[in-house]
């Protein structure tokens, strides 16, 4: 890709939705109200594991002020299927045979007030046969384990459990000969790691308002990362056609993957259909923790060998991931990402997807990868020390480059891992002096970045401005990046482009905002749609001038004639003013099943300070280096890096779901689910490396997910540097650190 000189790409304009967001005008999920709105509430299981013998909603339905009651009896049965399993999803929305976690939805009501809705829930009689809960992968895989689903059989290659099991799947990737590889190694490290379930921690709880007309058409407002997904899942779950449901995405107060599925939305639609009135449902914070999907806990066993010269010769890992109440953890991605940055000839990586009585897991930013990298990047750090090699040097000697055959399959196109390693090594942070009880750690990270489907259209307005319509909810500033790309193609200032996130009826199909794909996939669609518009603008100019379109050039927002005859350049407004005469409105569109989103590599450097008497660890300095391909709006790229670092630091130090022996979550709130606050973090320095992705017109690669992958090991390696203690179990809370320090002494 030649070095194109950009006019708007790489600048930092004010985001188009910024004014609304700093004045409190922006409408988030719970900010909608409608006439006649009913309050919807969910009855949730108090047991982590129980058979439902019966549900009697008659007393609730009879309570004055209650307009609808729903249970799974109101939903059609679903078959198991590939992709999103509807048989599982319908049971997560409303439990059927069993409740499988503390907080599992059992019934829903819609009533004229909060108070009456709560009273109604208390009038629903559920007869439970309480069963022992299974609360860890270790418990779940025991031969005598209590089973969550007697009908579940393990998918995947042998060796795997035959017959009824809590192990939903076994998978494996590998190449070469690990035994031979270990035989060649001079140093081998073998360790076992555990991580706990963590939540995405979005500040906005799930919220939806649904209204159904007498014609059976439902309109839904909700905060979501994918309104087309809300539409299609809701339609399937309710037995409706997608055309009966229109979904309008509100602004979204954080998602990080956790809002790519449905919880309340189908219930709100169902209740609004039964009641004949609009219904609004908002989760409390406790419900968000108890009933929406975390990234499950893990146990990872890893063995890696290196030569004294720093070549990784073999890696063997077993990853056991909690899926929660239904199958579908991110263990496959964990297996694929674990050694993705490295050119290792001999690997055997196996993963197990395991059911436990905790909420059904949902995606959380680079799902599966942070835990895997915690293990691999810690072991590499240990091996580097064993052979007396600088940790960045060890990684450089094994780093994948363009043309490398990635461990997870494909031959890599241009990638920036080496560039990130070098940028990190050359950064002043890497050589800065450390004080007493301080240590420095380094770790790398990788994420594939997704593709999926995107549509966009670009239309021109009579005043010379352009409207860019797309359908991916904006969770981090993407709409402005889309406007920048359109501005670049059209040659007009970014402020003259109006980006709109449209609903399911006003834009072509778009897959979710997720997988770090929007700037790449929707961005490409926007660029193509803008180029389509430019073609039309040239044709219209040619028509107005009466010349051949081949002699019309579009530059800096104007048509220029190049046939030797001087013409006044025509701007967009000049052309749109005469659009009716030259063929009608000018509209460009593009849609595609994206491919070619490039992986994004990162290298992080973190300094921590330890209080050796209390085990408290504080992050003192942090630098995140990542390859963005091309930073469309650098501030928002930096923001992704900084946000992912903060989440990773929280995961490393203090965040964890805590359960009692009966499987009740003990810390379903922000007091005891401890996310980093402003005083917990230093400034987070960022370095954006740009190794353009050849498959995007400007070189964009996704950036949003990779940043959460390195911090777990970065912090753990820094703590080791400060104290000599290797923490292999997260979180590294003060009591855990103090105990580790004392057992060393």
């Amino acid at each position: 890709m030649s070095e194109r000189k950009f006019r708007y790409v790489g600048t930092r304009p004010i985001r188009h939705d910024g004014m609304d967001k700093v004045t409190g005008r922006a409408n988030f999920g719970a900010d909608f109200t409608l006439a006649g709105l009913l309050v919807g509430k969910v009855l949730r299981s108090p047991h982590a594991h129980a058979r439902i013998r019966s549900i009697d909603t008659s007393r609730a339905a009879a309570l004055p002020g209650v307009h609808a009651v729903a249970t799974s009896a109101d939903l059609p049965e679903q078959e198991h299927g590939p992709g999103v399993d509807m048989h599982d999803l319908t049971r997560n929305i409303l439990a059927r045979e069993k409740v499988l976690y503390d907080g599992h939805a059992v019934a829903a009501v819609a009533a004229i007030s909060d108070r009456i809705a709560s009273e109604a829930l208390a009038l629903i009689d559920v007869d439970y046969e309480v069963l022992p809960p299974v609360l860890s992968v270790d418990e779940a895989i025991r031969p005598d384990a209590v089973l969550l689903d007697e009908s579940l059989r393990c998918e995947g290659p042998d060796p795997k459990p035959a017959g009824p099991t809590n192990v939903a799947a076994r998978l494996q990737i590998g190449r070469g000969d690990v035994a031979k590889g270990f035989a060649e190694a001079d140093e081998i490290v073998e360790r076992e790691f555990t991580t706990q379930a963590v939540h995405q921690g979005y500040i906005e709880p799930h919220a939806v308002a649904a209204r159904t007309g007498a014609d059976g058409q439902s309109v839904v407002w909700c905060c979501t990362q994918g309104h087309f997904a809300v539409r299609s899942y809701s339609a399937r779950l309710l037995g409706l056609d997608v055309s009966q449901i229109k979904v309008i995405p509100s602004e979204i107060g954080g998602g990080f993957g956790g809002k790519t599925t449905v919880y309340l939305e189908p219930l709100a639609i169902l209740l609004s259909r039964k009641a004949g009135r609009p219904v609004k449902m908002v989760m409390t914070r406790a419900e968000v923790f108890r009933a929406s999907g975390p990234a499950g806990g893990t146990r990872i066993r890893l063995k890696v060998g290196v030569t004294r010269a720093g070549r990784i010769t073999a890696a063997d890992a077993t990853l056991l991931y909690e899926a929660g109440a239904f199958k579908g953890s991110a263990v496959m991605a964990g297996v694929m990402c674990m050694f993705a940055p490295y050119d290792v000839a001999n690997v055997r990586l196996e993963g197990f997807d395991i059911l436990v009585n905790k909420p059904k897991g949902a995606a959380y930013r680079a799902p599966g990868a942070p835990m895997a990298a915690f293990a691999s990047e810690t072991v590499l750090d240990e091996l580097a020390r064993r052979i007396g090699m600088d940790p960045i040097e060890l990684r450089l000697r094994n780093a994948v480059r363009e043309g490398s055959q990635a461990v997870y399959g494909p031959k890599l196109k241009a990638v920036g891992f080496v560039e990130c390693l070098e940028a990190a090594r050359n950064h002043p942070h890497y050589k800065a002096p450390l004080g007493p009880n301080q240590g420095r750690g380094v770790a790398a990270g990788f994420w594939f970045n997704g593709n999926l489907q995107s549509s966009a259209q670009v239309s021109l307005n009579e005043d010379g401005t352009a409207t860019v319509v797309s359908g991916c909810p904006d969770i981090g500033g993407s709409r402005t990046s889309l406007a920048i790309m359109a501005a670049e193609e059209l040659g007009i200032p970014v402020e003259r482009v109006r980006p709109v996130v449209a609903d399911t009826e006003t834009v072509g199909y778009n897959d979710v905002t997720g997988g770090s794909r929007v700037t790449f996939a929707t961005g490409t669609a926007v660029i193509e749609a803008a180029r389509d518009v430019v073609r039309q603008l040239r044709e219209r100019a040619a028509a107005l001038w009466g010349i051949d379109v081949a002699h019309v050039k579009w530059e800096d927002g104007r048509a220029l004639s190049q046939n030797g005859v001087t013409q006044e350049p025509l701007g967009i407004a000049d052309i749109t003013r005469k659009a009716a005469q030259t063929g009608g409105p000018i509209l460009g569109r593009s849609s595609w099943m994206a491919k070619g989103n490039g992986p994004s590599f990162a290298v992080h450097i973190g300094d921590v300070e330890l209080d050796p008497e209390t085990g408290r660890v504080v992050v003192k300095r942090y630098t995140a280096v990542q390859d963005a391909g091309r930073a469309i709006h650098p501030s928002y790229v930096e923001g992704q890096l900084q946000g992912g670092v903060a989440q990773g630091v929280g995961w490393a130090l203090n965040e964890a779901y805590l359960y009692d022996a009966q499987g009740h979550m003990q810390n379903a709130g922000f007091l005891d689910y401890r996310m980093p606050v402003a005083s917990d973090l230093p400034m987070i320095d960022t370095v954006i490396v740009e190794v353009p992705n050849p498959h995007h017109p400007y070189g964009v690669r996704g950036v949003g997910e990779t940043p959460i992958v390195p911090p777990l090991a970065t912090v753990a390696n820094a703590l080791h540097d400060a104290s000599g203690v290797r923490m292999c179990d997260l979180p590294m809370s003060p009591p855990a650190v103090l105990e580790a320090l004392e057992s060393r002494r």
């Binding site: 401890r674 809370s733 003060p734 009591p735």
Partner: protein, 291 residues
């Protein structure tokens, strides 16, 4: 959350009358930072809420020769802004300043912190180390005094009877050469409930010898823990390393902590010793500056 009544009396007498008439079904609303959380969760369902922030006596700070009279409903931020109070009782001021975020500081009161009866309350160890007393208004118009260390009888329970209202905290004037300090351990830098809290009050003579000491710990027992053995280790010493270590060890030994989601018993025991030593050092530094 159901609530038939809301009252905002403007005098102690009026408040006591309402509370007595409600016969245990009323909840007192000072800052609301504990009460509203319990009401939202359903843990408390009062028949009535009595907002005491319009009673002048409960909202005043008075410093005189006898010491400090701190209205029970004064918010933490206001206490923090009182320069003279902070200069005389730096440990109490820092304990108050540790109660939560700036938003919580704008509402939370020392009276509420005490009456909530949490073993982890930040202000209680500090008040105990200072020898503070509670002034309680009783039905019928009387008043009674209870030392702070006897006020909380167990997690969530106090000596307050039906119709009684905590009006003010009385803190004796510090002796010459006296100073206090409060340290708290939490896993993050802010926003956590104390895992351990240690309050120390010391009096040093002109030769730098410790003449009097009080050590009180929070979050390591069902109620605040006075540790006379720790104090005894300090009195008569020059606060040398050995004495301070002995005090720290005494603090650890005296603990009766639990395992909960915020810390294990063993961990609290260890950190109690660490914080006690550090609080002693801080109080000593302040006392020397004054002496």
């Amino acid at each position: 959350m159901q609530l038939p009544r809301y009252d905002a009396p403007t005098s102690v007498a009026e408040a006591v009358e309402i509370l007595a008439a409600a016969n245990g079904h009323a909840s007192i609303l000072a800052g609301g930072t504990d009460l509203l959380v319990r009401m939202h969760s359903g843990a408390e369902r009062p028949g009535a809420v009595v907002n005491i922030k319009k009673i002048p006596e409960l909202c005043s700070i008075e410093l005189g020769p006898a010491g400090l009279v701190l209205g029970a409903a004064v918010c933490a931020a206001e206490i923090g802004e009182h320069a003279e109070l902070a200069a005389l009782y730096p440990g109490l001021a820092e304990a108050v300043a540790l109660i939560g975020s700036d938003q919580i500081q704008g509402r939370a009161s020392v009276g509420g912190n005490l009456c909530n009866g949490s073993p982890a309350a930040d202000t209680v160890p500090s008040l105990v180390a200072l020898g503070a007393e509670c002034a309680i208004a009783t039905p019928g118009g009387g008043r009674r005094r209870v030392p702070v260390h006897a006020f909380v009888t167990g997690p969530g329970t106090t000596v307050l009877g039906p119709g009684e209202l905590l009006v003010a905290l009385h803190v004796p004037a510090p002796a010459v050469g006296a100073a206090d300090a409060y340290l708290r351990f939490i896993p993050r830098s802010e926003m956590d409930i104390a895992v351990v809290g240690a309050a120390v009050s010391l009096t040093l003579d002109s030769a730098g010898q410790c003449r009097a000491a009080q050590v009180a710990l929070g979050a390591v027992a069902p109620t605040v823990l006075r540790v006379p053995q720790a104090a005894a280790a300090l009195v008569g010493s020059s606060l040398d390393e050995a004495a301070v270590l002995r005090a720290g060890d005494a603090a650890s030994a005296a603990c009766n902590p639990i395992d909960d989601k915020r810390g294990t018993a063993g961990y609290r025991r260890k950190v109690a010793g660490v914080l006690t030593r550090r609080a002693i050092a801080l109080a000593a530094q302040r006392a020397r500056r004054r002496g």
